[in-house]
Assembly symmetry: C2
Homo-oligomer: 138 residues x 2
């Protein structure tokens, strides 16, 4: 079975054409897109796709933990289809968001006060990326 369809069904989501297209986009593009990005890029292959559907779908996928919301950028919500543990870096020059390794020792169960239960955790950095600093490879 298609990996994207399986991913949706594993999270209790009925795999409509639109939902599969949006989830596939997220899984194949590791760019942490916004709603606008998704709409623009999917418009060619699905001219009738509406923004409301994208909002609805991303909201549903988020509730079911099939994707993760990145609030790293105060201007727009970004979405990430990769649920494996990793941190994010936002470049203040080019505004791209990069995946970076999680710092070690982040298992912080012991640090939380009694009665607090963590459902999701996010580690965000901002600064300047290797391309904007001119110090990166290439």
């Amino acid at each position: 079975m298609d990996l994207v369809v399986k991913h949706l069904m594993d999270h209790g989501i009925r795999p409509s054409v639109q939902r599969v297209a949006i989830m596939r986009y997220l899984m194949e593009h590791r760019t942490h897109p916004t709603v606008e990005d998704i709409y623009r890029d999917l418009h060619d292959e699905m001219p009738t796709l509406s923004k409301t559907t994208i909002y609805n779908t991303l909201s549903l996928l988020g509730e079911k933990d099939a994707l993760s919301l990145l609030t790293i950028d105060s201007k727009n919500i970004h979405y990430d289809g990769d649920m494996s543990p990793h941190a994010h870096f936002l470049c203040r020059c080019c505004h791209r968001i990069f995946d970076v390794a999680l710092p070690l020792g982040l298992d912080s169960d012991g640090m939380m006060p009694v009665g607090f239960s963590i459902e999701h955790s996010h580690v965000y950095y901002d600064g300047v990326c290797n391309m904007c600093s001119g110090k990166g490879q290439e």
Copy 2:
């Protein structure tokens, strides 16, 4: 000299009446307020204070690293006048934001790819707080 005035001047910000009032509010209220919160609460003592001034001031304070922007909540930007290192926890029930200890081992300089420089880092959790879970003290 007043601590708030000193804080502003230490960050190269001229301490106008409005700026001092807003910075003082942030330093005295550890509630991570939004623009709306600040406006509502300062309105009594400063009826002429405009929202634009609050936006301008928070933007200036942010640029000068005199406060920190919390993007933990996708609905609104929250502001924090406490620049000491700590993490944040957003309760999905009551939507309050709590200060929590930073996990150990978060010094992640070694983890970043060559050419990436970190200017700010944030650790965000969400889940259920002690009051909403009914398992807290009191």
